[in-house]
């Protein structure tokens, strides 16, 4: 089957859903299209999962000044995995949204946008050509803008949408130029060609460095890494299923996917890898720390996403292709689960503030158990999938640190281990605050309907069983890009011990003062973390304020220095103007006459002067 179907089906679905409007069936039709897309995705992707083969479908070609843009799609092992991930999560999200947005007046546009989002992600994943990828990439950005701003009546949703749009766009400028550099370096816009030329050494190191640094701008923006990380938490006012979609399978994953896709080019540029390593190290720890102090469940999850993405980048930065991809998949499953469960909680009690929750274990049993699995995966508890994937990441990092003794490896290892601790802390904190102790605020009305529970259960099962993948490393790395095992027993033991200690300590802290937020232990630091180290403020101070100040200075200069001259000139001009005023009679035809006469004079003059 032509992989274009995976792109076309949801697009058609989007149109159909848009046409249906706010009919009762809208959500179900959307879900049906999700299912069809998923089946198409299965059909397209399954043959290539774990296979070293790849297939290329050329749909057309567009001539440009330089190399032609080929509208081509490629399915290979990596693309197949991501197609599966994206279509599965999209289908589950659509199914989930049927009930979640039952009474929502704008559910037609919502469903259509989710489908379009899927189209865009499929385009990104399947694209063979950088420009085709860029199209998907940008459509995804636009969709995320609309979806984050879905409740545009709320000012925070509007602000979040604009912020997400501007920050990702900032990165995309770099990405666009990165594409130009890659294209001129290889003479083709094809991703495969870029990888080949980098692998064969045809592309010089400096070219690869420049290209990848520029591409990383886009990646950092899309995947919300430091320093463009602030948009992701602010995107939380959007509907929760959207968060699941964005965080688990599409938008942010696209950045990781792109880096994995351009792995050969990446490998050709040590500088780019070092930069990525630093970014990953800073982001993973910072974001995890921010997550500890948040009061809003979705914000906790958002920061955790940022932190977990940094893990993937960490793996990719040291050449751990398999570990990175594995963690991408695993994170996709459990993060979708967490967000959907959070949505279920929000659906039940009408808020996402953890200060309003507590003791929800009884009322929401399904949500409780599935979310427990999710948190376990996030923290990396064995035998849930997160344990294995995180272990794989830390494994490659430690290999880099011990065997190659590189500073990047050490940096990442230290940061990664610290992050393990912090991650465990915020996971159990959130778990405790939501499900244990006394009910603090709203009482849950009901457990979610089956269409919302089913995705939760499915994803929980996937998270539980995902560890099996470790046994078949070929599945995530069919080409054998990474040497070494995915399992590292010693390291695993160490992290597990660390993890359990952290969990117990946090639990004890919570137990000691019954129901107290363990985060209070941070004291004043907590407030700082709660404000996320003031990055937003810093951006305000560092960029916005100087701009304003400059503007004010300019205004003042204009008013007090330039203005008198202007006024003098103005007085003179007014006298002149009084004379010329009769020309300005508002009669368009007089003006046009003058223009034509002027044009004629110029033409004649040119004819005369130029022989």
């Amino acid at each position: 089957m032509n992989p274009a179907w995976v792109i076309a089906l949801p697009a058609v679905g989007a149109l159909v859903v848009l046409g249906l409007g706010t009919r009762a069936a809208t959500g179900w039709v959307g879900a049906a299209f999700g299912l069809v897309t998923w089946l198409a995705g299965l059909w397209v992707a399954l043959p290539y999962v774990g296979s070293a083969e790849s297939e290329r479908h050329v749909l057309g070609e567009m001539a440009t000044g330089v190399a032609p843009i080929e509208v081509a799609l490629t399915v290979d092992g990596l693309a197949a995995l991501l197609v599966l991930l994206a279509t599965t999560v999209a289908f589950l999200v659509l199914l989930y949204s049927v009930s979640y947005l039952r009474d929502e007046p704008r559910r037609a546009t919502y469903t259509a946008l989710v489908l379009l989002f899927t189209t865009a992600m499929a385009t990104v994943v399947l694209a063979d050509d950088l420009f085709v990828l860029l199209v998907g990439w940008e459509v995804m950005g636009a969709c995320s803008y609309f979806l984050i701003g879905h409740y545009w009546e709320r000012p925070d949703a509007r602000a979040g949408a604009v912020k997400a749009f501007l920050l990702t766009r900032l990165g995309d400028i770099g990405f666009l130029f990165g594409i130009f550099v890659l294209g001129t370096a290889t003479g083709s816009w094809s991703i495969g060609a870029a990888n080949e030329s980098a692998a064969s050494g045809a592309m010089s190191t400096s070219q690869a460095t420049v290209a990848m640094l520029l591409v990383l701008c886009g990646v950092v923006g899309k995947s919300a890494q430091f320093p463009l990380h602030t948009w992701l938490p602010d995107a939380m006012p959007g509907p929760t299923p959207i968060s699941a979609l964005i965080h688990a399978a599409t938008m942010v994953a696209a950045g990781v996917y792109l880096v994995a896709r351009l792995d050969d080019v990446m490998a050709a540029s040590p500088v780019a890898r070092s930069v990525l390593a630093v970014i990953a190290a800073v982001t993973m720890l910072g974001a995890a720390l921010f997550a500890v102090a948040q009061d809003d469940l979705k914000r906790v999850l958002a920061w955790s996403t940022v932190s977990q993405l940094a893990y993937m980048f960490a793996a990719l930065a040291v050449g751990g292709y398999a570990a990175g991809v594995y963690h991408l998949l695993s994170h996709g499953a459990f993060k979708a689960l967490l967000f959907l469960a959070a949505g279920s909680v929000a659906h039940a009690i009408g808020t996402t503030a953890m200060t309003e929750m507590g003791g929800l274990r009884r009322a929401l049993p399904v949500t409780f158990w599935t979310m427990t699995v999710g948190f376990a995966a996030l923290a990396g508890l064995p035998p849930v999938v997160g344990f294995f994937s995180k272990d794989a990441v830390l494994g490659v990092v430690s290999e880099e640190a011990f065997q190659h003794a590189s500073w990047q490896g050490w940096l990442l290892l230290v940061s990664g281990l610290l992050t393990v601790v912090v991650t465990a802390a915020y996971s159990i904190r959130a778990w405790l605050l939501v499900f244990c102790g006394e009910a603090r605020g709203a009482r849950p009305q009901h457990e979610a309907p089956w269409s919302m529970r089913a995705p939760l259960v499915l994803l929980a099962l996937a998270s539980l069983a995902g560890g099996v993948l470790v046994l078949t490393p070929d599945l995530v790395d069919p080409l054998g890009r990474t040497e070494g095992e995915l399992v590292h027993p010693v390291l695993a033991a160490v992290t597990t011990v660390v993890l359990l200690v952290t969990l117990l300590l946090t639990y004890a802290e919570w137990w000691r003062v019954d129901g107290l937020d363990p985060a209070e232990r941070f004291g004043p630091t907590r407030r700082l973390l709660h404000r996320e180290l003031g990055f937003d403020r810093a951006y305000d101070l560092g960029i916005a304020l100087p701009t304003w100040a400059l503007a004010r200075t300019v205004v003042a200069t204009d008013r007090d220095v330039v203005e008198p001259y202007v006024r003098g000139a103005g007085t003179g001009a007014r006298w002149l103007g009084l004379g010329l005023r009769w020309l300005q009679r508002g009669n368009v035809q007089v003006y046009v006459t003058a223009v034509v006469a002027g044009g004629l004079l110029l033409g004649l003059g040119a004819g005369w002067l130029v022989p």
Partner: protein
């Protein structure tokens, strides 16, 4: 056939269109003048296309585009004219002088100036 035939016809049509745009009072008639000018251009395009035996048919394709764009443009122009007719009950171009430099316009400009700069009171 002499290439001059179509070219001269086109030039004359263009000048007639210029006259129509400049001298007609009714806005719809002015738009007709514009159409004449566009058609003059089209004739040129077609003539040169045939003359040059263009492989990619730039002339004819561009003519098609011009026709399409002209249709869209004329439609919007006429819609605007109809709005003007509703608000003014006439569409005489030389009586539509809201944009003229009048005292009222000066005051409006001064007001705007105040809003933008925050300077209290104009110089007037």
């Amino acid at each position: 056939m002499l290439l001059l035939f179509p070219l001269v016809v086109s030039a004359l049509l263009f000048s007639i269109g210029v006259y129509g745009v400049l001298a007609r009072r009714n806005a719809v008639l002015v738009l007709m003048g514009v159409e004449l000018m566009l058609n003059a251009v089209n004739l040129n395009l077609v003539a040169f296309d045939t003359y040059l035996r263009d492989v990619v048919h730039s002339g004819q394709v561009l003519t098609l585009f011009v026709i399409a764009v002209a249709a869209a443009e004329l439609g919007l122009g006429l819609a605007i004219v109809l709005m003007i007719f509703r608000s003014h009950q006439h569409i005489d171009i030389d009586r539509l002088r809201e944009l003229s430099d009048s005292d009222a316009a000066d005051e409006a400009i001064a007001r705007d100036h105040q809003i933008w700069t925050g300077v209290a009171g104009g110089e007037r």
